[in-house]
Amino acid sequence: MMAYLIPSELFEFLNIIILIILVVYILGSAFLATHVKSVYHAVLWLVFCFLGIALMFLLYAESSILFVIQIIVYAGGITVLMLFAITLSGREAMYESSGREKLMDWRLSAAGAFLLFLISFYTISQVGKAFWLLPDLTTRAPFYDAQGFRIETEVIGFLAESIFTTHGITIIVLGLLILGAMLGSVYLVKKEVEDV
């Protein structure tokens, strides 16, 4: 059991508050991503939705590896790809219909501030175990609880082992699929360039 700096009742209450804030954050930014006029702003809202989901993986699914992958692939990769596609498809692609042309939305800034607040709350609440991610990522041995049962905690060694043994075929098929997707998209765009 971790030792917290604040009373446990207050901690439980704050946990519920944080969950509510996170849910409102995720669902609100998802709603705005599908409803704001500017498609460019919609992609920015999607970034915040992905970051909120990443925090949900970290806080409630007890998985720091999914937190990292979600940020790298979704919030970092796919959204930048979308922004490139919007930029390359001309100015008229940015707005679905006649929309307001504002450079920045105050709600976007508020969303960023909320995210910083949640991250700082998590960090402060975990002061008891400093270097919060390091123990999870480096521990190799299985954990045992007080009754002697093995707890399969989030240990990256298990994940790596399972990727190379149990799920090896799936990962290979996935790699072939991604290769095919990459070659296919390159072919799609290249063919059009040659036609023009």
């Binding site: 669902l27 991503a33 599908t34 919609a42 999914l66 001309g90 679905e96 998209s185 799609l188």
Partner: protein
């Protein structure tokens, strides 16, 4: 502190519904892709939460989420390639304006 798993399934369901509604009502092809990503993310939340709250093992669910994320990345790459190709051919990315397969 752990919450009941139904809370997270409810969150995932609402996220899926938001994505579905966005997919139905949007005209822009890019926004349709955004809605698809939202629906995929709700499925990812379900995978991670079910892995934690069942005794099948945390690792299996996490591998499923990793596979799903990789699939989403491939799908986004192909989708955006198609969108660019359509833009070059039709000059627009509004999904209502290229309906040649509709007949």
């Amino acid at each position: 502190m752990s919450f009941d798993s139904s809370i997270f399934i409810g969150i995932a369901l609402m996220l899926f519904l938001i994505g579905f509604a966005g997919f139905i009502r949007s005209k822009s092809a890019v926004r349709m892709l955004i809605a698809i990503e939202l629906m995929l993310n709700s499925a990812n939340i379900n995978f991670a939460i079910f892995a934690l709250y069942n005794d099948i093992g945390l690792v299996t669910g996490q591998v499923a989420v990793i596979i799903s994320i990789a699939l989403a990345a491939a799908e986004a790459a192909v989708g955006l390639g198609i969108i660019l190709s359509i833009y070059r051919k039709h000059g627009t990315v509004e999904a209502t304006s290229f309906q040649s397969m509709k007949g």
